[in-house]
């Protein structure tokens, strides 16, 4: 959907550009003979005309420049939306893969080991049964021998720990499977694969989803405090709002060094819902602050940041008729505040 809009835009700007180029060539071809005549008339006039020509040429160059700039900007915005989709997808996949890995690791291993343990136990049972058969068929002469044999295999069976161990592994595995299904449910909720588009949504759920997806970046390192108020449902595109929160949370996590605290708040105002994400990370210097929403602006190393996160956030919030504010102090931390209207009828798709 998003890339469609972007596609139309860039096509439109491609059409505009050649038209402009034709016009400007037109100006040029009319201008030159006129100028020649003027030069023959008088030096002063020629000087003025020369000035005029230069002025025109400058203007023309400037127009072309502006058009070029505009075209580049549109193209780069199309690029932004596209790359962002890929970037956030990659981010999400990495997160989910990591979350699933641990439970998958032990469940997979356990399933195999339980099989082996059962085989071992079956063998012990078979041995015991052979012993019992021997006892049942025993006559007076062999009875005593059969009895000792059965007592021995019974003891072996009683001591076999296989079943206990298998049960323990099974309990862990059921646990792990639950963890993985919870993750998938969450993921489906996050991506809204089953119902994309506008919906009535509790933003606290979106926050929760985003926190789960980001949890591999937060765990062990960042303490998250939730101060979530009771919210009315908001009309929005949940998959996009999830993305907004995920990007803000990711940035906050990346702004903190070894350890940090993050506070996630939500509350209802007159006709908006306000969500804020506060971190006690590095903060943003005053000279950087005006640039953070620019596409491709990043202070992170090559490969670590695309600089697209906040430009996406901005675009989505704007598309929902909302606002985003930031306050930051170097060394203290940063707070991003997103405000979304509860009723927003013509939210852009």
């Amino acid at each position: 959907m998003v890339s469609d809009i972007a596609g139309t835009k860039s096509r439109a700007s491609c059409n505009e550009f050649p038209i402009l180029a034709d016009n400007s060539r037109g100006i040029e071809s009319h201008m030159s003979p006129l100028l020649l005549t003027l030069i023959f008339l008088s030096l002063a006039l020629a000087g003025a005309a020369g000035f005029f020509y230069v002025g025109q040429a400058r203007l023309r160059a400037r127009i072309t420049e502006l058009e070029e700039e505009g075209r580049k900007k549109e193209a780069s915005q199309a690029q932004v939306m596209h790359t962002t989709k890929l970037a956030s997808l990659g981010q999400m996949i990495a997160g989910v893969a990591h979350e699933i890995n641990t439970p998958l690791g032990f469940v997979k291993s356990n399933a195999e080991v339980i099989g082996d343990l059962l085989t071992e136990y079956e063998q012990a049972v078979a041995k015991c049964m052979t012993g019992v058969d021997f006892l049942l068929n025993a006559d007076a002469a062999t009875f005593e021998r059969a009895k000792t044999a059965v007592a021995r295999v019974r003891m072996e069976l009683a001591n076999a720990k296989g079943l206990v161990e298998a049960r323990e592994l099974l309990t862990d595995s059921v646990d792990g499977l639950k963890q993985m299904s919870a993750l998938v449910v969450n993921l489906k909720g996050f991506a809204r694969v089953d119902r994309d588009g506008m919906d009535l949504v509790d933003l606290n759920d979106c926050l929760q989803s985003a926190l789960t997806i980001a949890s591999h970046q937060l765990r062990d390192r960042v303490t998250v405090t939730r101060e979530l108020g009771k919210l009315p449902k908001v009309r929005c595109m949940p998959s996009q709002i999830n993305q907004v929160f995920l990007n803000l949370i990711t940035n906050a996590a990346q702004a903190m060094g070894e350890e940090g605290r993050m506070v996630v708040r939500s509350r209802v105002l007159t006709d908006t819902v306000e969500v804020s994400i506060e971190d006690n990370g590095a903060g943003i210097p005053d000279n950087v602050l005006p640039k953070i929403f620019d596409p491709f602006f990043t202070t992170k190393n090559v490969g670590e940041g695309t600089g697209l996160g906040l430009s996406i956030v901005h675009k989505i919030v704007q598309g929902h008729g909302g606002t985003i504010r930031v306050k930051s102090e170097v060394g203290k931390g940063t707070t991003f505040v997103v405000e979304l209207p509860i009723q927003h009828k013509d939210a852009k798709k």
Partner: protein
């Protein structure tokens, strides 16, 4: 066969997730498995139980896997170390090779058969192969080693060559090769203890298979990889299938280059005295790495196989 083989191996599994520990314990139940959910206690445990093989998770809240392995290496060097990782993180991989000297990487989720075979192989090596001493060698001996043991650089980039020449030539018998052919010729002619190599060059293509093949037949030569292509996946592969000794990122820094070459030469020198220890640095026999890992041409392989082995006892030991 060996009297030691009869006793069960002693394994220490380290992970903050208790369900992983229970799974590993059940999986490796033919051995004596100790488990530890707090890596800070692991070095002491490794020593107390005289552990043969360590299986350690990389990502733990109290302490990272590589740091844990480094401390265990100091406290109880006899144990071979296996690192379990969920995802490839270049910094962690480089740290684990350069500082933790890991034996192998295993990706989560693991293959049961693979980890079992790996642990058994690591345990066998830990029991059979003696440790080379961690004592530094005397200055006189070090000088002799530097004079005798060659360093071979396989690299076609002139800038890096010059840089390495500047750093190494004043101290070591260093030789340079632009091509695989020339490198093999130098190996044929000169006793060489350290091979410094890129992983890929324009003209020669991929060099990793060559490094693996060399390691397979001549494990006493330490490989120091210098690379521009910083990539965790490749680094892990080079450790698992090529038992690379050190990995340095370009541009090569003087300090790390000298440290790596010095310790590689010292190791070679000690191996000469104690050739049985080379098993600790060889590729081993666990199934996953020997067969499918070395698609080098038959001709090249034959040439590598035929390279002279200057550590004489080693041939007896391997043969």
């Amino acid at each position: 066969m060996e009297p030691t083989a009869a006793r069960p191996l002693r394994i220490l599994c380290i992970d903050d997730e208790s369900r992983i520990l229970r799974a590993l314990k059940a999986l490796l139940r033919e051995h004596e498995v100790h488990i530890c959910s707090d890596p800070r206690q692991a070095p002491q445990m490794a020593k107390d139980f005289d552990i043969d093989v360590i299986v350690c998770d990389q990502r733990m809240p109290q302490m990272q896997g590589i740091d844990t392995l480094r401390e265990i290496k100091n406290a109880h060097p006899r144990a071979l170390r296996i690192l379990l990782t969920g995802y490839a993180d270049l910094k962690a991989v480089l740290g684990s090779v350069n500082e933790g000297e890991v034996f192998r990487y295993v990706n989560k989720p693991w293959e049961n058969a693979e980890i079992k075979a790996l642990v058994t192989e690591a345990g066998r090596i830990a029991r059979e192969a003696p440790l080379i001493s961690s004592e530094p060698i005397s200055e006189r001996e070090a000088e002799e080693a530097r004079g005798t043991v060659g360093v071979l650089v396989l690299e076609e980039d002139a800038v890096t060559q010059n840089r390495l020449r500047e750093i190494l030539a004043p101290h070591y018998q260093v030789r340079f090769a632009n091509t695989i052919d020339r490198a093999l010729m130098l190996l044929e002619q000169h006793e060489t203890g350290v091979l410094i190599s890129e992983t890929e060059t324009h003209k020669q293509g991929d060099l990793t298979q060559l490094l693996k093949a060399l390691k397979l037949h001549h494990p006493y030569i330490s490989t120091v990889v210098i690379t521009e292509r910083a990539n965790a996946q490749l680094a892990m592969e080079l450790i698992n299938e090529g038992q690379v000794y050190r990995m340095l990122l370009k541009p090569v820094r003087m300090g790390s280059a000298r440290l790596s070459v010095d310790s590689a030469i010292t190791r070679y020198w000690k191996l000469k005295r104690n050739p049985r220890a080379v098993k600790r640095f060889a590729l081993g026999n666990a199934p996953s790495f020997v067969e499918h890992s070395v698609p080098v041409s038959e001709q090249l392989m034959a040439r590598i196989r035929a390279l002279p082995t200057r550590i004489v006892e080693l041939m007896k030991f391997n043969g």
